[in-house]
Symmetry: C2
Subunit: 502 residues, 2 copies
């Protein structure tokens, strides 16, 4: 269905604001702080940032880029390549910008995704000069209808001095109505967030803005860059089976029913593959309350397993994009997109009692998790929402293969060299080897479960050797460590290319 | 005012349950799980656990002890000494039990204090055989009125198979009405917690129990062990001044008013001394929404600075005990005691937008905080509620003197050897040297603020040397570290008695 620009811009006076990407990009000044839509490749501002990157080739321009989460493969890359980014907040996932962050050329603030809105509200980050928001329409009563993500767009639009809308005509207008935009009051005057079930709607269908703040409307027709999900393999299938068995145990223990509890699943191939595992399970009438809906969720909706899914972003493969956006009316009453402040809000997560499933980079023998830093120093992507969900969930589960790089790296180490989730927050660890349920256990009770159930056989004895020596050295302290060797596995990896002891 | 036992036990049939401490202790079996009242010395079960410890001298009896937080100086000590504790949950602060935890003889689960109730509710910890609750009365409609703390008593009483009440007659009946007992529904059916202001009351004045679960009522008249607060000194006064100046800056920036925001202040002498500093400040009509009310809060109420204080426990010095409990009617409408699930609830903390002030054991150059483990291995007390407050507060502030043990220890180190609060959660660090405001900053932006503003002069250059070498080694990675030296300060301390480089 083709819809004219006029039909998509409900306020006639705004038609005079229609500009080219170059004209819109010209409004932005060196030193500006720009809040962009976009969350894990979905619904990101596409054409104006690229026009700005072009401009920055011949002009000294450096901006701070705030987003929901990661953008598509082009924007961060192009802006970073031309040196146009001073500071990046609160998540990224692009190799080019990642390299520049790890060369010290771009400042990066890696923050809990639910915290971002509070920082803007308080003026800790900002003031925001421009919000650039991808939209599918502007309604006659002044609502900007987002596309495939909501992210931080509502809070950026609210606090920005100026707004640029990227009107994306690639989406049909059936996206109208799938969003639920609610912004909490200021702290001190704040009311409870009246979201009691995953499917509850508490806000408006779009982002309410003052139309006079809209400085430009740029028409685009680029679809989101598809996700790069890697297909499930034998090991992710095994991990999924372990997870399903663990959940069956919870039902047997009387803690869950066959409907489980609303599920959050982190971003990436492993989390997606594990979630795919639910398709062949006996669980049913499942609800998803997550940050990002990946392919697996739509496959589970199709399979009749998932009855409702709440998110802040839809990040799917090319095949799924065709299927979902070509039949959005089929899914429209089964999904809702919310601001990331709400999808990740501790109040809501704790109330609903989520089962949170996130991927770990590495885990240590006491259950601390590193989600972000390769060898403790090199930023990978960021913590994203994993902390929001992990801390407040009913059951926080971390999944990781027990090894990486052909076995030269063990994903379970004596001490993680960077801590994103501490022992206080990590409930369950799942690898292809098995499951360690750490809930209610003291550190010394966790060690045998983690080593015996989760570690790759190549590293079991080596971890036991570390632990036993640490116990002896400390005389059995609460959390035995040998500080001279706690990080030696990573040192060994850097020097000899392997964590394996000689 | 003396009140007869009959007046304190509103249900006549329960008078037959009045027993001696020894008789009550005899009800408990080897292997039982016992949930006790008590939170930082306040309102703890006193006589029955001691009778149990006596019994355990001649009998093989080992129980799991769950509490609100730490108990008075005797109970943990005596039970631990006779080997009667298998597992201790979720906080302790006694030297004797601490030693046995660090010898591997007692298992200890160090948990976020707001998480405890969920673990009981789910049956992850438990089932609870006995709840032993100190009370000032049992009302005719079956409410147990707690004394000077609420802690986890409501959830333990609800889920315990049996209840023993320690009826403490040392308190007058004017404690009736200062508690507000609310237990959230099960996750999945849970409603919003309707607590919108620090002073809101949302529950009942006591713990509603089935009277038939009460197996014994033991009369006692022991008051709480007074707190051991150390008086403010020049350095804590300087820290208080730094903190007040920081808050003045927040007002100037338009982020706070003269009334600030509800204040949470951690347990211990440093946090208390810093809070005392508000007495001479220009701030007024302050609210406290905290875990424990220490001396400073009552002094601030007397000084007309604090208008209302919410807590789960009142832990005060002997002098203050006389003043407060001798004139409880003076304070009764200015305080409320809640279950720790509510005083520490992320939903409420995030909604109210607290200013959280907690003490750190040590901090690293990126803002990670160790609150619990001396040199990364030896448990001190526990994380307590610091994580509940820190993660969800408007401003999370950590206070610590910049050095310890006569300067042989720097409280700011290259990398903390145990992580309780990560870089994602720590906003502001205050030492006697100054303030580092880390909000919205990248790791490399935090380093100079922490080193220049907070570190003792003796260690500044040594930290710069570490950092500069790490930057060079990694080529400027996001979080530069030299993993071979990251924990070397603690290794040096263990070997040479000092963190100072030669």
């Amino acid at each position: 269905m083709e819809i004219t620009i006029e039909k998509r811009i409900g306020i006639p006076s705004l038609l005079t604001k229609v500009k080219t990407a170059e004209e819109a990009a010209a409004l932005i000044h060196d030193g500006d702080i720009v809040g962009m839509s976009g969350f894990t490749r979905a619904g990101d501002a596409k054409v104006v940032p690229l026009a700005l990157a072009e401009r920055a080739k011949n002009e000294n321009i450096k901006i701070d880029v705030y987003t929901g989460a990661s953008l598509g493969p082009e924007v961060d890359q192009r802006l970073a390549e031309v040196g146009a980014i001073r500071k990046r907040v609160p998540y990224q996932g692009d190799p080019v910008i990642r390299n520049l962050i790890n060369k010290g050329e771009i400042l990066y603030v890696d923050a809990h995704l639910s915290h971002n809105a509070e920082l803007v509200r308080q003026g800790i980050i900002g003031p925001i000069d421009f919000a650039i928001i991808e939209a599918t329409a502007i309604t006659e009563d002044g609502l900007i209808i987002p596309t495939t993500s909501v992210g931080n767009s509502p809070i950026y639009a609210k606090y920005a001095k100026n707004i640029i809308v990227e009107l994306n005509v690639a989406h049909s207008d059936t996206l109208v109505g799938v969003h639920d935009i609610f912004i909490p009051e200021e702290q001190g005057d704040r009311q409870p967030i009246q979201l009691l079930k995953a499917k509850d709607r508490i806000g408006e269908i779009g982002i309410r803005v003052e139309p006079e703040k809209i400085q430009a409307i740029v028409v685009s027709d680029q679809t989101d860059a598809p996700s790069l999900i890697v297909a499930p393999d034998d090991e992710t299938q095994t991990m999924a089976n372990h997870l399903l068995d663990f959940l069956r145990g919870e039902i047997k223990a009387g803690r869950l029913t066959n409907k489980l509890a609303p599920i959050q699943s982190g971003v990436g191939s492993v989390a997606n593959a594990v979630l795919e595992g639910f398709k062949e399970s006996e669980f049913e009438d499942l609800e998803v309350f997550s940050e990002v809906l990946q392919d697996a969720v739509f496959n589970l909706i199709d399979a009749g397993k998932v009855s409702f899914a709440s998110c802040t972003s839809i990040t799917i493969s090319e095949e799924l994009q065709k299927k979902v956006y070509g039949n959005i009316e089929k899914y429209a009453d089964k999904i809702v997109l919310r601001p990331q402040e709400i999808s990740n809000h501790p109040e809501v997560i704790r109330r609903l009692g989520l089962i949170a499933i996130n991927a770990a980079l590495e885990v240590d023998i006491y259950g601390n998790v590193n989600s972000t830093h390769v060898s403790g120093t090199r930023m990978m992507n960021g913590i994203g929402g994993s902390g929001d969900f992990t801390r407040n969930s009913r059951i926080s589960i971390f999944v990781t293969k027990s090894y990486a790089k052909g076995g030269t790296i063990s994903s379970i180490v004596p001490m993680v060299p960077h801590h994103d989730h501490t022992e206080h927050d990590v409930h369950v660890i799942v690898t292809e080897q098995g499951v360690a349920d750490l809930r209610g256990l003291a550190p010394k009770e966790r060690v045998p479960l983690i080593i015996e159930n989760c570690v790759h056989p190549d590293y079991k004895q080596q971890l036991w050797d570390y632990y036993n020596e640490a116990v002896e050295l400390t005389g059995g302290h609460h959390t035995p460590h040998n500080l001279e060797k706690a990080l030696s596995w990573h040192v060994n990896l850097a020097k000899n290319g392997t964590m394996k002891a000689e």
